[in-house]
């Protein structure tokens, strides 16, 4: 079938706009792209403003379902400042038809947003602790919200540490933020790449190699980890070896989220539904599931 994206998009957007999207979590709210920032070769940050009733305020770690009208819907974590309720920020990588359409959306384009869904990083429960943020690749996006919140409430926490691993320097996103955070006296930022490049003078190696010397107190740290599942497993293991208790290691995982509200079962991971019970889990809860091959 030959699609007519323009017609489908405008019809779908009109239909969505006429519905009562304020109460039904299955109905998207219309948002307009107000700014598009290219982060890397294939990764884009979209800044969105509501055309209808905005979705409720989100907590760092939660995700929304972004709808490219006429193409499809994908779960994408919030990457913006949670205190800026009037604007949503999502960072996504072009890996297929839907994310490709969302990445390509230019200022003025309208997309659908449902959410926020799922569990958060729950920074409030980490008052008085060292916060250790560990990101792999685009995993920095969901952690950025948490970092921004922690920085806005800096007095509530002890050390703030960000450990970031990417494949090569070209894949570093949020460069302005990284430069800014690195310039702060009370934030430790360490970045490592799998493979250096001309001009790179930083560390080379996977992100887990940063753990043994990272400046935090394992007895008093809460770790927030986001990245591909293999990275989650090995990072959690490294944190455990440093002495961080499993209950204080929080991992953001991903499955094939569809409905976002625990109805459809697409994102089932053993006894949990990732869209409803996650995406953020503590390691003590997630560890038994990460090692089951069939899951």
């Amino acid at each position: 079938m030959t699609a007519m994206p323009g017609v489908i998009e405008s019809a779908a957007a009109e239909l969505v706009g006429s519905a009562d999207s304020g109460t039904d979590p299955m109905l998207p709210h219309r948002y307009r792209v107000v700014r598009r920032r290219l982060e890397t070769r294939d990764t884009v940050t979209q800044l969105l403003e509501p055309l209808d009733e905005p979705i409720p305020a989100f907590a760092p770690g939660q995700f929304a379902m972004l709808y490219a009208f006429g193409v499809g819907e994908v779960p994408i974590s919030m990457s913006g400042d949670p205190s800026r309720v009037e604007l949503l920020q999502h960072t996504l990588r072009n890996v297929g038809a839907v994310t490709g359409a969302l990445c390509a959306a230019r200022p003025g384009a309208v997309i659908g947003v449902r959410g926020p869904f799922g569990t958060s990083w729950d920074l409030n429960s980490a008052y008085g602790h060292d916060l250790v943020f560990i990101a792999g690749g685009i995993g920095l996006a969901p952690l950025r919200s948490a970092l921004l919140q922690a920085l806005s409430q800096r007095e509530r926490y002890r050390r703030l540490v960000l450990l970031l691993g990417v494949r090569n320097p070209d894949e570093l996103m949020f460069r302005k933020d990284l430069r800014s955070w690195k310039g702060l006296f009370d934030v430790d930022v360490e970045i490592t790449v799998d493979r250096g490049a001309p001009g790179w003078r930083g560390q080379v190696g996977v992100v887990t190699t940063l753990l043994p010397q990272a400046p935090f107190d394992p007895d008093n740290a809460v770790a927030f980890v986001c990245g591909p599942e293999v990275m989650l497993r090995f990072t959690a293991l490294g944190l455990s070896q440093r002495g961080v208790p499993a209950q204080r290691i929080r991992l953001s995982t991903e499955r094939n989220m569809k409905c976002g509200v625990g109805l459809c079962g697409h994102c089932q991971l053993g006894p949990v539904l990732v869209c409803r019970d996650g995406p953020v889990f503590s390691y003590d809860r997630l560890a038994p599931l990460l090692h089951v091959r069939e899951l």
């Binding site: 685009i138 799998d194 190699t209 591909p228 293999v230």
Partner: protein, 160 residues
């Protein structure tokens, strides 16, 4: 023991690589060690040259790298303050397999390889202790290489 050797022994005992090593062994190592500083961009050793020492980095950053004809040297990994640099000195033919370059001002305790090997032969207890520590580091680095081979941050993502 001279003041200088005593000072080195104190610093050796504080180095994470030797954490928990009995004093008698640390003091023996101190007699085989000296302190050294280098600015950034100093080559500490080169591939195929005799591996006659190793380094307990106290501060700084060092690239372990491999020259590739016609290209920039390939950086394999970094070694930082608090870590040990070099193990080719421990096994025949005692030549470096890779090269090392400082990328930041670096300070290290430098140990004379031949003397340490002799000490290993003379004291199996010391030798076993040291080999266990080197093996631990080697395992960590092998593990890190395996993770890199798995393309840790980009396992084929689901197409959406």
């Amino acid at each position: 023991m001279t003041d200088e050797v005593a000072g080195i022994a104190t610093r050796l005992a504080k180095h994470p690589f030797l954490a928990g090593m009995p004093d008698v062994h640390v003091q023996a190592l101190a007699g085989l060690a000296h302190l050294q500083r280098w600015p950034a961009d100093t080559r500490l050793f080169s591939e195929h040259r005799t591996a006659d020492r190793f380094f307990l980095l106290e501060e700084g950053l060092v690239y372990i790298e491999m020259p590739i004809p016609g290209q920039e040297d390939m950086v394999l990994e970094t070694v930082r303050g608090g870590e040990v640099l070099g193990w080719s000195w421990l096994f025949p033919p005692y030549v470096w397999h890779f090269s090392a370059l400082t990328v930041a001002p670096t300070e290290a305790i430098v140990l004379a390889a031949a003397g340490v090997r002799e000490r290993c032969e003379a004291s199996p207890e010391f030798g076993y202790d040291l080999i266990r520590r080197v093996a631990g580091v080697a395992i960590q680095r092998l593990h890190a290489v395996r993770l890199r081979l798995m393309n840790l941050y980009d396992p084929t993502p689901p197409r959406r």
